[in-house]
């Protein structure tokens, strides 16, 4: 059975920030929602309550950085770029402030609907010069995010998973790396964030059906490891599928399309995710199914891709277990 970790960000941030007194924990009135309430209670001198005033929070963080502090901004991802986009650029991105933006509720991981769902954050963030863009996909990645983000010489945006988070990997997130979860030659499947867990639900039945899948997990959108993708793309026979908890435009799928076109590769690409649509409020299971980027949607997409029925039903997936989450390399022996 998969291990489920309770609030990995909570103890990760507390352990990390309490050892570095130059770190300040900023919160936009979402302290417990972003799992830093315990930190606030135990280390009040390192906590700065910014209230519901995101424009000020971004520029204020810039000012803190100018006086020698390292702000970790905590709020929902949407609130870090939609309203205060101008401040994000002028006060954080342009001057390359060492500010770590922790964006919670990535994509459709909230029933709170359009206003709370950061569905275009990666698209926005990765086109901003100087930004580093990371997405966590499991508890181990959340556990490594503070240290990894804080090693970056410049601003960083991180999609953070909160609450009950599955542990899929046993090696820390390393910025710029790409995880190889399974080897194969027919289809290159690239997933990120919660979609990796979802894809793993489908993987064993796909393998049983005789589909050879090279499965990659992407956590670093910028700087993106183009060389590694290129290398792995070369021997793929059928094509590439990306699956992301994000709009299919501007995020992972687009990133891969850019690489394919840049190098003149002849590979078909299928992009799963939100297809030029806003979402509404609902559970993760309901929304990924409704918008076509759950495990079963992946199966159906592969059928379309290969032009043959796989005779897999949704109930087969439900029985599927995430097991043997092993990767090829020793470093990624999961």
């Amino acid at each position: 059975m998969i291990e489920i970790v309770n609030k990995p960000y909570s103890y990760t941030f507390k352990n990390y920030a309490s050892k570095n007194k130059k770190i300040l924990c900023l919160s936009g009135d979402l302290t417990s929602s972003c799992e830093v309430d315990q930190f606030r209670d135990e280390f009040p001198n390192q906590f700065v309550s910014m209230g519901m005033a995101e424009q000020n929070m971004m520029s204020f963080a810039g000012g803190l950085s100018m006086s020698g502090y390292i702000p970790f901004i905590h709020t929902f991802g949407v609130f870090t770029y939609r309203r205060p986009y101008d401040q994000l650029l002028a006060s954080i991105a342009y001057p390359r402030r060492k500010i770590r933006i922790m964006g919670f509720l990535p994509g459709i991981t909230t029933p709170a609907g359009m206003t709370h769902q950061a569905i275009e954050d990666i698209s926005v963030m990765r086109t901003i010069p100087n930004m580093t863009v990371i997405e966590t996909g499991d508890a181990t990645e959340v556990e490594s995010i503070c240290e990894q983000a804080n090693n970056v010489d410049g601003p960083v945006y991180c999609r953070i998973l909160r609450g009950s988070v599955p542990r899929l990997f046993d090696t820390p997130l390393k910025i710029g790396d790409i995880r190889v979860l399974n080897s194969g030659t027919d289809i290159l499947l690239i997933t990120s964030g919660i979609c990796t867990e979802e894809a793993l639900r489908a993987r064993s039945v796909l393998i049983d059906a005789g589909i050879s899948i090279l499965h990659l997990h992407v956590h670093t959108f910028k700087p993106f490891n183009e060389e590694k993708i290129l290398d792995l793309l070369t021997n793929i026979k059928i094509g590439v599928i990306t699956m992301e908890n994000h709009l299919v435009n501007g995020g992972l799928g687009t990133l891969i399309a850019e690489i394919i076109s840049k190098h003149g590769l002849s590979k078909k690409l299928m992009k799963l995710g939100l297809n030029d649509t806003f979402a509404h409020g609902g559970s993760k299971q309901y929304l990924t199914k409704y918008y076509g980027f759950d495990a079963y949607a992946l199966i159906k997409s592969i059928e379309k891709f290969i032009g043959l029925p796989l005779n897999i039903e949704e109930k087969d997936l439900e029985q599927a277990r995430i097991e043997n989450v092993h990767s090829l390399s020793k470093a990624e022996a999961l």
Binding site: V48, M50, G51, A53, Q55, N56, M58, S59, F60, A61, G62, G63, L64, S65, M66, S67, G68, Y69, D86, Q87, A90, S91, Y94, P95, R96, P129, N130, D153, G154
Partner: protein, 306 residues
């Protein structure tokens, strides 16, 4: 840093220099010099506790925007002296006043007059809208409203560091229309940032004209006081009034000085253009010539040769 010249004299020289630039270049942010000359002269000559410039008196050319590969990148903050515990930190918020800022730096000996000849020239760091790398600037303020928040963040950090120096912002009243200013006030008051102060050039002007015609913002002093900051209103051309205002006690509160000014002070002939004063470009050679003669007279100089 005390200059040998009186602040009043520096203010006059700022007006003359900006006017000269305006005539020679057939346009400039001229009214901003009229309204803010006393404030900037007073800030640099008396009010700010800042060290000598750490930058070359003739600015280096543009050396690229900040990026991971640009190791040479520097802001223009060094013209305001080194960043140090005991010194004040100065944020110049209305980036459209850049020309006036450069003229001020020249008149207080921090910038060579030749620096102004690089104004708005391709490849120059002496940009028309003050950029981070422009002399006297430390951040991009071309998007109005971010200066006070940034200064509040600096002031908060400096409090934590127990630093002696204050953080000062020069602002203009137009930017008070931006919501972020009021967010910044909320936070500065909540955190009792009494090491933060601002002087606001209340010239009642914005791009479209007089603020009363564009979007009147009412009784600003009352509003700022209601937000919980210490707000004092003075005649922005009266340097003694500035000195007194700065001495006001504001324990546990940020201090905001509203300097009420006239956008054609010292160049009354400009009144003919009122309320279109945001950027003065002459409509005809005749206007340029008459303005040159009339305003030069007011400034006590010979007409500018161009």
């Amino acid at each position: 840093m005390q200059n040998k010249l009186k602040s009043e004299e520096i203010a006059l020289r700022i007006r003359r220099r900006v006017f000269e630039h305006c005539i020679k270049n057939n346009g400039a942010y001229l009214s901003q010099a009229c309204s803010s000359a006393e404030q900037l002269a007073w800030l640099y000559n008396e009010a700010l506790n800042i060290g000598d410039s750490t930058m070359p008196s003739i600015p280096e050319s543009f050396s690229g925007v900040p990026s991971i590969n640009n190791k040479k990148y520097k802001t223009g903050a060094g013209y305001n002296g080194p960043i140090a515990n005991e010194y004040d930190r100065f944020i110049f918020a209305p980036a459209h006043y850049a020309l006036v800022a450069y003229a001020t730096l020249i008149e207080v000996g921090r910038l060579d007059p030749a620096g102004l000849s690089m104004f708005n020239k391709d490849g120059s760091s002496v940009e028309i809208i003050g950029a981070e790398h422009s002399p006297g600037m430390e951040m991009h303020n071309g998007t109005l409203g971010i200066g006070l928040s940034t200064a509040a963040g600096i002031a908060y950090g400096r409090k934590l560091n127990k630093e002696k120096g204050e953080t000062c912002v020069f602002m203009s009243d137009g930017e008070l229309q931006e919501g972020q200013i009021w967010e910044a006030l909320q936070v500065s008051v909540y955190y009792k940032l009494d090491n933060l102060w601002a002087i606001v050039d209340v010239n009642e002007q914005q791009v479209d004209g007089a603020m009363s015609d564009v979007l009147d913002i009412g009784d600003v002093q009352k509003k700022i006081n209601a937000f919980g900051a210490k707000c004092i209103e003075i005649d922005g051309h009266d340097i003694d009034a500035m000195r007194q205002a700065k001495k006001e006690q504001h324990k546990d509160q940020p201090l905001i000085i509203l300097a009420r000014t006239c956008p054609y002070k010292g160049m009354n002939y400009l009144k003919k253009r009122f309320p279109r004063l945001h950027y003065v470009r002459f409509k005809s050679e005749e206007e340029r010539s008459i303005m040159n003669i009339e305003i030069s007279k007011e400034l006590g100089i010979e007409p500018i040769e161009y």
